[in-house]
């Protein structure tokens, strides 16, 4: 682990569940890593794998995609597609020599402020341990 390394973590949160869960974490004043930047989407199924790959290529040290628990998707099945795309993306990244450990998919409901805090803190710590994304130095876009 590099000294003085502040990771850049991007979180794609779905409007109906995980974003609401993140808001609840705020309303209950829980501590969430400041390295996390949240981008709101309507559904985790909106998260194009290319967006995730772009994030990594732009130097994101970690990317979190969070959606509703299976069965609870506001749009019925968007999160199932998110799950499949994510699994495929992880595999693809590995073949490209990128570290798929830098990706995380989590199901967080609107009432799980506590869980949001736990997931984000654990993920941030995990990324800190991994060190900076080597892509940061290799490619400039």
């Amino acid at each position: 682990m590099e000294e003085g390394f502040t990771p850049k973590i991007v979180g794609f949160l779905c409007n109906w569940c995980s974003y609401a869960g993140a808001d609840l974490a705020g309303a209950t004043k829980l501590e969430v890593p400041s390295e996390l930047s949240v981008i709101r989407v309507m559904c985790s199924g909106r998260v194009d794998p290319v967006l995730v790959a772009t994030a990594l290529l732009h130097g994101a040290d970690g990317v979190l995609v969070a959606g509703c628990h299976p069965g609870d998707c506001h749009y019925r099945e968007g999160n199932y597609y998110a799950r499949r795309r994510f699994a495929l993306l992880k595999k693809t990244l590995e073949t490209l020599g990128l570290d798929s450990e830098r990706l995380m998919l989590a199901w967080i409901s609107a009432s799980e402020g506590q869980r949001f805090k736990e997931v984000t803190n654990e993920f941030a710590e995990h990324i800190r341990q991994m060190g900076p994304n080597p892509m940061r130095k290799k490619i400039s876009l």
Binding site: K8, V10, N15, Y19, A20, A22, D23, A25, G26, A27, K29, L30, E31, V32, S34, S37, V38, I39, R40, V41, M42, C43, G45, R46, V47, D48, P49, V50, L51, T54, A55, H58, G59, A60, H74, Y75, R76, E77, G78, Y81, R85, K117
Partner: protein
């Protein structure tokens, strides 16, 4: 036109101000290109705050608005409304969440301030790429098609019909009435189903706004909510009738599970074994025995066994009303043949609700036997039949009876499959139609504008079927108001004709069937009436042809770029 962006930072009292150094934020974002004004305010969502915003927007002639405050889930709508009042298209606005997801979750003030700046820059970069989307409306037809002329269909038709709303009631049989017409008695009031139906049909016929089409079948339904095109085949006239409606109510009822598939009950092989519907028919004044309960040999039975849950294991659900109507059978039997011995063979008594336990207790007092049996079989004994039963504890017993009434599971009508295909209605694993939401929207199907009520939706009582018919009515009357247009979701998907390769992947993933294929152009097209704006199609498209308005790749990329700077 030159862009003029205004950035307003809310203090939210002390909530944001005590953690985020707002002065530093203002210093950081003021130099951004095309930023016309950066201001702070104590509480932007208050009446005073909104007025301040409006005036400031007008004063500076702003074209885009960024507000840094609480969560968009709190006040996106509030500030969009301010935009509208101030003359900015409400879509040219972005709210940066620096409260719930910044000030409130970041203990260190410096980190909170950095994060706030990041979020605001992201909002700023994004908003420049917003498009001034306009809301749209479409005409809709308030008329309704009701498929199925049983109690649910009849009640729905009557509740829906009005001078400005025509109802087409289509029934495949020569006459209306469905199953209820065959019930000589209804639980719990033990009144005649036939009489009830006669009353219903009389008032139905008096209703000028309902066109009844008996001996007719729906051949085709195209279109979507507000605009369905229907084709009905009229058998008697041997021709088709075409008309348009705004909504469809499926009330195709139920059928009984066929006990012939279960040899242990002897149905179809041994004499005097009847299904519940056959027993009902026997009791009809106009029925095969003139309403008399008789064995095949013409004599009244002295003993009857009623076997519950026939086919329950195979279907894997409880049909809800059978225990209750079997109690009705007890009363019918005892009423005609007071000395008759009646024995029930059941596993669990299902009598939920405020009134039914009393009905059970009073029926039991007539001298009815209830035997809890885990395994029941019917065999011939020369003179009649023998019921062999086994309790849960494992002890076995036998009972000789003259007549057996089987209570089979209730299934969705055989037409269900046909309608499922015709309307693209997903069926659930039990053969009934999948609801829009099992709990929150039980009478709406997965296809917008199509409702499923009564036993077509699931096994239920007459009272519940009528409630569902009225529920679908409530939903339709609320959504399709004569003379009022349907307001559409603004942030829908759109497909670029030139980029679309016609792979149809988007069509496969759309949860709402909102994308259709244009055969002539071999491209996919989004139906904005049905699109809910989830963006699955955009993520799935391999050629980047699909765009979700207001959440385009480009817009999200702007946010991404900023936060990773």
């Amino acid at each position: 036109m030159a862009k003029k962006i205004g950035i307003y930072v809310c203090e939210c009292g002390a909530n944001i101000a005590e953690k985020v150094d707002i002065d530093q934020v203002i210093t950081a974002v003021s130099p951004l290109k095309d930023v016309e004004v950066v201001e702070r305010h104590k509480l932007l969502c208050s009446e005073g705050g909104k007025e301040f915003l409006k005036q400031s927007i007008e004063e500076h002639g702003l074209t885009h608005l960024v507000v840094a405050a609480c969560s968009p889930k709190q006040h996106e709508v509030t500030f969009m409304s301010v935009c509208e009042q101030a003359g900015i298209n409400p879509q040219l606005f972005q709210l940066a969440n620096i409260r719930e997801q910044c000030a409130w979750v970041t203990p260190d003030g410096e980190e909170a301030t950095d994060k706030a700046i990041r979020q605001i820059r992201a909002a700023f970069s994004r908003v420049l790429y917003h498009k001034p989307l306009e809301s749209k409306e479409v005409e809709c037809n308030p008329d309704v098609l009701v498929i199925g002329g049983g109690i649910a269909g009849i009640r729905a038709s009557q509740a829906l019909a009005a001078p400005d709303r025509k109802v087409y009631l289509v029934e495949k049989a020569p006459s209306l009435g469905g199953k209820v017409r065959s019930f000589s008695k209804l639980f719990t009031n033990m009144e005649s189903g036939l009489t009830l139906m006669e009353q219903e049909l009389k008032s139905l016929q008096e209703n000028e706004n309902i066109e009844v089409l008996t001996e007719s079948k729906v051949e085709q339904i195209l279109g979507f909510l507000g605009n369905f095109e229907v084709k009905v085949r009229r058998k008697a006239e041997d021709k088709d009738l075409d008309f348009n409606v705004g909504a469809v109510v499926l009330a195709t009822g139920f059928e009984l599970f066929d006990p012939r598939g279960l040899p242990q009950y002897g149905y179809g092989k041994l004499d005097d074994i009847y299904t519940s519907l056959e027993f009902e028919e026997m009791n009809l004044p106009g029925g095969p025995t003139g309403g008399k309960i008789l064995l095949k040999n013409g004599k009244p039975p002295e003993s009857v066994a009623i076997i519950h849950c026939v086919g329950r294991e195979e279907k894997d659900y409880c049909s809800k009303v059978c225990c209750l109507y079997s109690l009705k059978f007890d009363r019918m039997l005892k009423s005609q043949i007071p000395q008759i011995k009646v024995s029930h063979f059941y596993s669990d008594l299902c009598i939920p609700g405020k009134a039914y336990q009393k009905f059970y207790e009073e029926t039991k007092e007539l001298g009815i036997e209830f035997v809890r049996s885990a395994k029941t079989e019917v065999t011939s004994n020369g003179e009649g039949t023998t019921i062999s039963y086994e309790t849960e504890a494992g002890s076995k017993g036998k009972l000789a009876v003259d007549m057996v009434i089987l209570i089979p599971a209730m299934e969705s009508s055989s037409d269900a499959r046909k309608f499922a295909e015709m309307l693209n209605l997903p069926q659930d694993e039990k053969g009934f139609f999948a609801e829009e939401h099992q709990l929150l929207s039980p009478v709406a199907s997965a296809v917008e504008g199509i409702f499923v009520v009564g036993c077509a939706q699931g096994p239920q009582s007459i009272s519940e079927s009528i409630v569902q018919a009225e529920a679908a009515t409530g939903k339709i009357l609320s959504a399709l108001v004569p003379g009022r247009k349907l307001e559409l979701e603004v942030r829908t998907s759109e497909i670029s004709e030139s980029f679309c390769t016609g792979c149809k992947t988007c069509i496969l993933v759309c949860p709402y069937g909102a994308i259709t294929f244009d055969e002539a152009k071999t491209i996919s097209v989004v139906n904005e009436v049905l699109c809910h704006g989830c963006g699955n199609c955009a993520a799935a498209c391999p050629s980047g042809a699909v765009s979700l308005k207001h959440f385009t790749f480009g817009q999200i990329y702007q946010e991404l770029k900023e936060v990773l700077r």
